[in-house]
Symmetry: C2
Subunit: 166 residues, 2 copies
Amino acid sequence: MVLDPPPDEALRWVERIAKYCADQDGVPLIAGRILGWLTIAVPAEQSATQIAAAIGASRASLTTNLRLLDSVGFVTQLTHPGERTVYYRVDDGAWARVVRRQVASLAALGEILQDGTDLVRGSPEGAARMRVANEVFAWLADVFAHAPPMPGETRTAGRAAPEEPS
Amino acid sequence: MVLDPPPDEALRWVERIAKYCADQDGVPLIAGRILGWLTIAVPAEQSATQIAAAIGASRASLTTNLRLLDSVGFVTQLTHPGERTVYYRVDDGAWARVVRRQVASLAALGEILQDGTDLVRGSPEGAARMRVANEVFAWLADVFAHAPPMPGETRTAGRAAPEEPS
DNA sequence: AAGCTGGTTCAGTACTGACTGAAATCACGA
DNA sequence: TCGTGATTTCAGTCAGTACTGAACCAGCTT
């Protein structure tokens, strides 16, 4: 099968996504590229070799990063009968998961700050400072508690970011 | 002035904060320690030397990282008349800013995905995939648009995360 | 002026982690 | 059982960067 090389415009876009992933999320650059590419790839199913060609990375890197993306559920594998090749496609909820991860991460930070409250007990000035910090996270939790359910979400999610089991 | 060494409990907590900053935000470990320490330090004003002693880092590192924290407005400098020493304290809105940064970052990601919509035009299957992704970010923007103002926020903030000018 | 003291700059070190090429392994067909 | 293509593992390279020690600078004090 001849792969038509992806247009420059697409590659630039993929690069933006990859940069975001690398800078903001700590995801390896190549993993970001894969994610970006699979998001706009047609057809959605792409073999590792195809992806490697599209984004210009080695097969070895593909193995590593596809496994990473798979382990966090950002891509799903699928195979066709009579074929040995494994195809990958971006999971429908991948980007939702990115959002949820970020939100959950903030919630975790809120927990930590909460725990710090005890440390400043004894100093009214310190306690006040800590209260200001905690209010922000209380506000955040509140915002999501009263938010409509995320698209693709089943429940209204009383707590910030429940992760579905693998 | 004799500095009483910070209790173990406090140091452990500072370390948790630092770890969060380093892992989730890409902030240098020491900067995270400074931020954590200043959050629970009593008194709130601490000199670079004091901080260095408390978290066990070199003065040089303090210079670098205090400047970093200052440049993003997480700490503020203050001086006392008749003294040369510069004192630092955590900015009241520091943690709010952390939250806002994260949210803004997600909004930016939403923009990027939005821009990708054009790339899949021509393939109904790809367009559908992209729409699913965009819906999540639309939902997120909506949540914050209808949220009560963040504590310490002046306006109701129609857009996600306006940064006050320096 | 000399000597402190607090602050900054700079060059070097150490470390982490992404990425790759090549070897090893696996799964299936003949 | 052998061969072949796809995949994985592994060791090594490389880049980026956090951190530090040491030298340097600027005011104050005597």
